[in-house]
């Protein structure tokens, strides 16, 4: 029982971490109808920037407070992500107004390659460390109820909290502001949005910026968990089932999807895996998502796919 709870909790928290990455996909898709293949690369790029600047800033300025160095590095990395967003809009998206999804997807692939190359050129391709003071040792709760207690990974717990906060903020942003509405309009029809005076370039810079910051937060947390190196970009593959299960257009969906996928894959691996030789969690996550899609083809919270004649 205790172990079941532990697995459950572990799944929930892993799910929250996926949600962080999934959120980036959802943001950009929701706001511009683009499936951003570069999200993984953005996470990596942002994390690299953060990791390296938190190392360089103390060297350059002699700051030796960890907190200060991290805050400064976060700010610099944030600024870099802003610049990236601005350049992407200028150089890529503004030339691809009103093009089909597949074309835009391809463009983001180009961006992904570019960012991977640039990131490694600027920041190196070794393994780097982000130390934001996350506690590494586990805590045990409910020791009175279960023998040995239930293990909780504090780092994951904090990460989950941050993710939840971010999602709450973003949901508000989409639901309550007129920019939120404009974003959705852009996603529906670039040209019509232009024709009524929505400045696509500004909207896209805003969205990519927000997505960049989300990538930075995701990169920071995953980076502090895994160390910052290339494989960080592959975390995106774990986040994809989350995105479709929750619905490509739903911010809260990213969280719920994350929780379901997290729990589903951990339970399956732990309880089902041993019978078939293990290693099933990744495909199980996708199959799980697929199962949900068969009932709701637009994901749990996604906007209904409209086909009308």
């Amino acid at each position: 029982m205790a172990f079941f709870l532990e697995t459950l909790l572990g799944g929930l928290m892993a799910g929250m971490l996926y949600s962080l990455v999934a959120l980036g996909f959802v943001l950009i898709f929701k706001a511009s109808g683009v499936f951003n293949f570069a999200q993984g690369a953005m996470v990596l790029f942002a994390a690299l920037a953060m990791a390296r600047f938190s190392e360089w800033i103390p060297q350059w300025t002699g700051i030796n407070s960890l907190l200060l160095a991290n805050v400064a590095a976060f700010a610099v990395a944030g600024a870099i992500m802003f610049a990236v967003a601005w350049l992407i809009e200028r150089l890529v998206l503004s030339h691809l107004v009103n093009q089909e999804g597949a074309t835009l997807l391809m463009a983001t692939l180009g961006i992904a390659y570019f960012l991977e190359g640039l990131g490694q050129t600027l920041f190196g391709s070794s393994i780097y460390k982000i130390d934001i003071g996350m506690p590494k040792e586990p805590i045990f709760v409910l020791e009175s109820a279960f023998q040995g207690g239930i293990l909780i990974n504090k780092e994951d717990l904090y990460a989950a909290l941050i993710a939840a906060l971010l999602v709450a903020l973003l949901s508000l942003f989409f639901q309550k502001t007129s920019t939120g509405r404009a974003l959705r309009a852009v996603a529906d029809d670039h040209q019509a949005a232009q024709s009524i005076g929505i400045p696509l370039n500004r909207i896209w810079v805003i969205v990519w910026c927000v997505a960049g910051v989300v990538a930075l937060v995701a990169g920071m947390i995953w980076g502090s968990k895994l160390g910052v190196q290339f494989s960080l970009a592959t975390v995106a593959l774990r986040a994809l089932p989350v995105v479709i299960l929750g619905g490509l257009t739903s911010v809260p969906g990213a969280i719920i999807g994350g929780l379901i996928i997290g729990v589903g894959e951990k339970l399956s691996e732990v309880y089902l895996g041993p019978f078939v030789g293990g290693g099933i969690e990744i495909w199980f996550a996708y199959v799980l998502a697929l199962g949900f899609l068969l009932f709701r083809p637009q994901g749990l919270f996604g906007e209904k796919i409209i086909d009308r004649v």
Partner: protein, 416 residues
């Protein structure tokens, strides 16, 4: 035509395994530079090289191989990746270039009578696994004490990670310990469920068969689930600086196999610093020189060069060797302690000698432990148990040859 022996260098400096691939590649390249600078090549034959980026991907690796295999004076390939090794194993017999897969590749390719062109020098995953079990046995006070113990293998879900399984199963059968297998999907960024399972079964030991990001993640997850690091034993690909660097204190007490030392004291490393780095020709940063994987790269290159030197002894000093001749040199290496000392490898590795039937040359390794800031040796050299290994290798090689409709090389062929 200038007398040049060409060394193709397959490497990966980008992609998921770059943090490990880079020092490895740098070691290989620096040693070549050093031999040129210090000795002017091999008996006057200059050493040339070209790097080719594989990104750890098989098809890119094959492309690199095809691109470089035809160069004049090509000596030997080190694919630096298990997948590429598989593909090249099929190709080298026709192209007549040897493959050196030091510490990786197919375990059965130790049998040189079946695998004429493969050289898994210094160790395969079977020897590695065997040595680890022996070491654990020693710790427990005898292999018989393993009875009833639980040992878990957490492995990279790929042929690389799966290689040791047959040997471990054999050992488990012999000593009566419980073997639990937990695969980790590549590249290994998400291991929570693996470690939840470890926490559930609380094994006595965990063997870690990882590469790249999988290793550091495993250590962090172990820390997060409270599994004692000093019960964890990694293969030699899970025992280098990048694996523990960003875990730091959290990895303290973790053990891994070592094929070689690390550190800048050995003479050869000093030579590299002197002849290469001090002239500003170092391939990578200076502080990386002498790291575990860097040193392994140096060893690989040294063995390749010594194979050429050995071949020259037979086929003509100061001549450029063909791949076939290098293969012969590789098969007839005899590096005793004296020779190693002369080469500046004193203390770095154990003596090694190969033969037609044994392409491994040495089945020794020892265990090192991370003390929070550096690797320290924690055991003597242990030799893998021939009695277990030999029949397994033989059976595997026989099956391979049967599938391929090949016959074992005869004595005459061994001479050529």
């Amino acid at each position: 035509q200038a007398k040049e022996q060409f060394f193709p260098l397959l490497s990966y400096r980008t992609g998921p395994y770059a943090p490990n691939g880079v020092p490895w590649a740098n070691g290989k390249q620096d040693y070549l530079k050093m031999v040129n600078a210090r000795d002017g090549g091999i008996n006057g034959v200059k050493l040339t090289y070209e790097e080719c980026e594989t990104g750890y991907a098989t098809d890119r690796g094959v492309e690199c191989y095809e691109r470089l295999k035809g160069r004049p004076g090509v000596a030997i390939f080190d694919p630096q990746a298990t997948g590429i090794t598989f593909a090249l194993t099929e190709k080298v017999p026709t192209d007549k270039v040897p493959l050196i897969t030091l510490g990786y590749g197919l375990s059965v390719s130790q049998d040189g009578q079946a695998f004429k062109w493969n050289f898994p020098l210094m160790g395969s995953y079977w020897t590695g696994a065997d040595i680890l079990i022996q070491h654990i046995g020693q710790k427990e006070g005898g292999l018989d004490k393993l009875k009833g113990k639980k040992i878990t293998l957490v492995y990279h879900d790929s042929p690389f990670g799966k290689e040791p399984i047959p040997l471990l199963q054999e050992r488990a059968r012999m000593h009566g310990f419980d073997l639990q297998l937990i695969p980790v999907t590549a590249p290994g960024v998400e291991q929570k469920s693996a470690w939840l399972q470890v926490r559930q079964t609380r094994p006595d030991y965990v063997l870690l068969w990882g590469w790249g990001v999988m290793n550091s993640t495993a250590l962090k997850e172990a820390q997060a689930t409270g599994y004692p690091r000093d019960k964890m034993y990694g293969v030699w690909w899970a025992g280098a600086e990048p694996d523990v660097k960003d875990v730091g204190e959290g990895a303290k007490g973790y053990h891994a196999l070592a094929l070689n030392t690390s550190g800048q004291q050995p003479k050869v490393i000093q030579d590299i610093l002197k002849y290469v780095h001090e002239k500003g020709q170092g391939t990578g940063p200076k502080d990386e020189v002498g790291q575990v994987l860097y040193t392994r790269g140096v060893i690989i290159q040294m063995l390749s060069i010594e194979a050429v030197r050995r071949a020259q002894e037979r086929f003509g000093k100061g001549k450029v060797m063909t791949g076939e001749q290098v293969r012969w040199g590789m098969e007839n290496l005899a590096l005793d302690q004296k020779r190693l000392d002369a080469l500046g490898f004193a203390g770095i590795m154990r003596p090694l000698s190969t033969s037609c039937s044994d392409h491994m040359g040495s089945t020794w390794a020892r265990v090192q432990t991370w003390n929070g800031s550096k690797w320290e040796f924690s055991s003597d050299f242990i030799q893998a148990d021939e009695q277990i290994l030999k029949p397994m290798v033989k059976a595997g090689a026989e099956k391979y040859m049967a599938d391929k409709k090949m016959t074992r090389r005869n004595a005459a062929d061994c001479q050529s």
